[in-house]
Structures are given as C-alpha cells and as structure tokens.
C-alpha cells in the first residue's frame, strides 16, 4: 500500500529531493535553517511551522536564515535567479507581502518583458495563506488574487499532499517566478505521496469529482470543503463536478469551460475576499466564453468583504464551509433553464 505523509512533509520532501538533484537550488527565509547564531540546537526551527526542518543539516551551505528584511531577501532571490541559482525563498505569511511586493511584482515578474526576453528568473517564493488558526487579520489572508493579477508571475495553490510535492518540484524546475501558496490548515492533511520525485505540471486543472449537474471550481483548502458539500448533495441527487485549478496563473480555463459546457451551471469557491477575486475572475471568464451553455447564473462563494476576524466564533463564519457551498449549489442547480 502506498505511503501516506502530510502536506507539510510532502513539501519538505520536494525541497530535499530538488536540493539533492540540483546544486543550484538554495533556500532561505526567517529561521529556515533553524535559528542562526543561537547557542542551542542548530536546526531548532526549520521555518516557523517546521516545513524546512532537516534540510540545514543536509545542505548547510544552501539553507540560510535571514534577518527580518523581506525586501532584501526576496529581492535577493530575484537577483540570484538572474545570476545562476534557483532560489526558494520563504515569505513566512503572504500577509507580509506588503513590505516586499515591489521586488516580486516590479522586479522578478517584469525582468523578462522589460529586458526584451533576455532574462530568466527561476525562483520560487513559498508562502503561507488562509484563515482557520485564529491568527487574526494580519496572518490569515489569502491574497492570491493580487499575485494572479500580475503578468509575469505564476501562482500555485495546492489542495493536497500529492499535488503539493509535484507542484513544488515543477515550480523549482520552472524558469519563471512562481509564488507557491501553502495553506496553513492543510499542513497536517495526510495523503498518498510517492517517494520518488515527480512533477505536477503548472496550468493543468484536476477533476476531483465527476458529476453532471453543477460544476464547482474550488481553490486550495476549498477543494476539501467542496468535496464535503458534494457528498451531502449526492444524497439529494445533485451531482457536483469538482475542478481544482491547482494553479491560478496559468489558469486551465479549457478544463473549466469543458465542464460547464456539460453541466451548464457554475459555482466558484474561493477563500479570498470577494472584490476582484479568483471567484470573480473565473465566473467572469465563464460568463464571457460559455454564456450560451449556462443554464443558470454562475455563483461565487467567498469570504466576506472584511479582514479576517480573530475570535473563533467569527472566524468560523468567515471561511466558506460545506454548508454555504451546498446552499449555493442547490440554488444554482434549482434555477430553471432560461425562458
């Protein structure tokens, strides 16, 4: 029987295997080695959540701690990528993008275009996103719509351990800057993950569940929520087709359109805030490209237009859950074909 490991272990294994394979892969970030200069254990932390734990002892020259200077070290990843390395830099929480976004969106993302195709910037920024652990407004945002908006960036949002490993290896081997979104709640999720290295190509959506009634496009942690909703709905004879884009840029529109052509009904589930969100992006593209196939209004399920609240009582209402998803699907499924 195949081996089961967690989402976190899958990412750690991908990093270890790529560092083994390719000496130009370096990783750095706050406490990524474990806490430099401290008198105690060398490999004490391995990142705030332990994702890089164990790498420093194996590759002491290629795993670096950094000062709390995101602009400098995220920019250093861009500079290193243009000069022969394949850096994997950690932006601990994506919420911290505001102190270093320039180096991501004006530098790394634009080099190739501004320089007329002469630059290659093979870098990965690993970052944690999402609500659910009571981390409050500045440690619980999703923000991938902002990165998806930027031409020149690729954006990866894995929903399970298998994809996490395959997408990380693909991202490291990719020649463009990739922002790799790790959902903090999924770190403990277990799944079957092959031990040998493999890639999951960027830009290929996955059919998570087949069904003829309603297409449900869900991103990251929302995929699991959608699956729970689909279970419940199956008992009501509503069959959901769940699609996990896996990468939001590039976005595999073909797969989404194909499914909508069949179902004629769409629900998009996106943990981010609603305005200019991925949900809006996908719903708008489907409305424009598959209008004649649509039998009912496309529906968006997102967090509300508020920052993430701290109180568990409120945070549990903030994140889309299976009930809200099921309600949306019922509505869309019920809406009669057009007059």
């Amino acid at each position: 029987m195949a081996r089961r490991i967690t989402y976190m272990q899958a990412i750690n294994e991908a990093l270890a295997q790529e560092m083994e394979r390719d000496p130009s892969v370096v990783i750095f970030g706050e406490d990524n080695a474990g806490g430099a200069g401290a008198p105690g254990e060398d490999d004490a932390w391995g990142g705030v959540m332990g994702v890089t734990k164990g790498l420093y002892p194996k590759y002491p020259d290629r795993v670096l701690d950094t000062p709390i200077s995101e602009s400098a070290f995220i920019g250093a990843a861009a500079g290193a990528a243009c000069s022969g390395l394949r850096p994997v830099a950690e932006l601990m929480f994506v919420d911290f993008m505001g102190v270093c976004f320039d180096q991501i969106f004006n530098q790394a993302a634009k080099f190739r275009y501004m320089f007329g195709g002469k630059a290659k910037t093979p870098m990965v920024i690993r970052t944690m996103y999402g609500a659910g652990i009571r981390a409050a407004s500045q440690h619980s945002q999703s923000l991938y719509p902002i990165f998806t908006h930027i031409p020149g960036l690729k954006v990866v949002v894995p929903s399970n351990p298998y994809d996490a490993k395959g997408l990380m290896i693909a991202s490291i081997r990719d020649d463009d800057p990739v922002i790799f979104f790790e959902n903090k709640v999924l770190y403990t999720m277990e799944g079957e993950v092959p031990e040998e290295p493999y890639t999951v190509p960027l830009g290929e959506a996955e059919y998570v569940r087949e069904g003829d009634d309603v297409t449900v496009v869900a991103i990251g942690r929302m995929v699991g929520m959608a699956e729970q909703a689909a279970e419940a709905l199956a008992d009501e004879d509503i069959e959901c087709e769940i699609i996990d884009p896996r990468t939001t840029s590039p976005l595999d529109e073909e797969t989404i359109f194909e499914s909508v052509e069949n179902t004629g009904r769409l629900v998009v589930v996106d943990e981010s805030n609603p305005r200019c969100s991925l949900a809006a992006d996908i719903a708008a593209r489907v409305a424009q490209e598959c209008f004649d196939d649509l039998k009912a209004a496309p529906k968006m399920v997102t967090a509300p237009h508020t920052p993430p609240p701290f109180s568990p009582a409120l945070e549990d209402l903030y994140v889309p859950d299976p009930e809200r998803i099921a309600a949306a699907v019922r509505e869309v499924a019920g809406a009669g074909a057009r007059a």
Partner: protein, 329 residues
Amino acid sequence: MTEVAGARELSKEQLLDAYRTMRTIREFEDRLHTEFATGEIPGFVHLYAGEEAIAAGIMAHLNEDDYIASTHRGHGHAIAKGCDVKAMMKEIYGKAEGICHGKGGSMHIADLDKGMLGANGIVGGGPPLVCGAGLSAKVRGTRQVAVSFTGDGGANQGTFLESLNLASVWDLPCVFVIENNGYAEATAQAFSSKGIDIAKRADGFSMPGIVVDGHDFFAVYEAAGEAIERARNGGGPSLIECKVNRYYGHFEGDAQTYRAPNEVEEIRREKDCLMLFRRRATSSGLVEEEELDLIDEEVRQLIDEAVEEAKSAPDPKESDLLSDVYVSY
C-alpha cells in the same frame, strides 16, 4: 548608567506604581502561559515576561494622551499605557467584551483613547505610525510625544530604518525604543545585526542613540526621561536600545531548543527586573517589603478575576462579522 539612576529620584507613589505595573504584566503573562497550556486560548500569544522594566520605565514618563505603537509582543506596553487589563484578557480569549470586541486578539490589542495605537502583527509596522503621531503632535502644537517599540529583529526591517530617518528629517517628537531580547523567533541578534549595538544605527540618521540595561527599571527610566523630555521640548527624536531577555518562547508552544540550557534560569536568577527593583526600592528606604507583597496579592486577585471573567464572557454575535470595516460605506 544603572549606577547613576537612583531610586531616590522617584516618589514613593511613583515607585509603587512602577512596581504594580511590572507585577501586573508579569502576573498577566505568567497566567497566560499556564492557561495557554490548557488549550483554551486561541491563536498566537507572544509573552512579555522578563521585559517589564522597559514598558514600565518608558511609560512612567508618558501622559495618557501621548502615543505608543507596539509590537506582536504588546501586552506589557498596553498594560503600562493604561489599557484595561480585564478587557485585554477578554480580547485574548476572543470575547465580545474584549478591548477590540474580540476582533483583534493578542496581536492587535489597541486603545486609541489611551494613546495605544496598537500591538502589531507586522514586524516594523509601528515605527511609521509613530512618525505620523509625532507629526500630528507637532502640527497641532500639543507637546505630545510618540514612542515606538521594536525588537532586535524588527530593527532590520526597512520600515524601522526609514522611520528613523523621517523622524530625524521632520524633526519629530518621537522616541524609538529597541527591545533587544537577543532573539527574533529562533534567530539570534548576534546573527541578524552583525557585531554592533543597534543603537549605533542612530548615528546614521544623526539622532542620539543610547544602550541601557533593560532589566533595570531605573536605567530605563532615566534614559527614557531624557529622550522624552527632549522630544517634548522640540529637541527631536532619539533611539534607546534596551538589552533584555524574554523568559518564555517566541510564542506559546515554542520549546526554545535554540537557547543554551539554563540560559533562562540564570537570567531569572541574576537579572529578574522585579527582583532588582524590589532590592533597589526597599534599600532606598522609601518602600517596605510588605507594601510590595500587598501589591503582589492585589495583582494576583485582579488577574484571577480577569481570567475567570474572560472564560465566562460571551462570544461576539454573528452580525459582528460584518461590522466595523468602514465608518461609512
């Protein structure tokens, strides 16, 4: 510097107030440490235990309408600035009667009426805000002062360094306090700012910078007095680096394996700020051991009540999720 400052310079009331502040912070944090272990407290909690002399020594010079901007490790600053301890505890438990109605939590405790511009989840988030509060005081001509707190790790964030320069250039009534507790999460300050006192960076922005022992309330009190008076009188900003230690992990749950064995124990034994304060205060003859013991007892009761009330307090209502995003929309 420690030697210069004498307990005698402070009145008995001031000494007792300072002690009460430090003890309240310590009790608040020690109790959170215990309660967190029970799993009842949500989210990230960064404790200030061991650093109390800094908050008490700085805030002893501030009026209610002076401003401070704090960090993720903000409980001590909030208590010393006069935030309601019970409302803070309720906030940390995520309750509706919390100081931020449960929406902020430990990392976002704030009370603008008390001049507390907020704990901050972003390292280096506070210094620019303090430049703004200082500008406001200057433009309105109020003689208010604005103080920011930053850790040794935060001293490497561009926002902090830019703020030193802006305050210098705009000649603002600001004080930048560095709480150098030797670590940024697991990373030692020895690694993150190589071979210098962080106070040295003040020179690069033509601002006075000074290093003090952050365990010694009297040393902090004296250095802060000078800097805050200078700011209040239009003399511009200063930087104060307080060398100190934190007793607990970076956040609750951190086993601190990066620290040397017994590192914390020795500090607690040699340099505990409450112990040092007690010695100095009593040897000055101004206060009696018993008076301090009484404060300990009162504080213990206060924190007991705070925890009990927080546990039984009501959660926010569903409708609270959508309120308070805008004044009008």
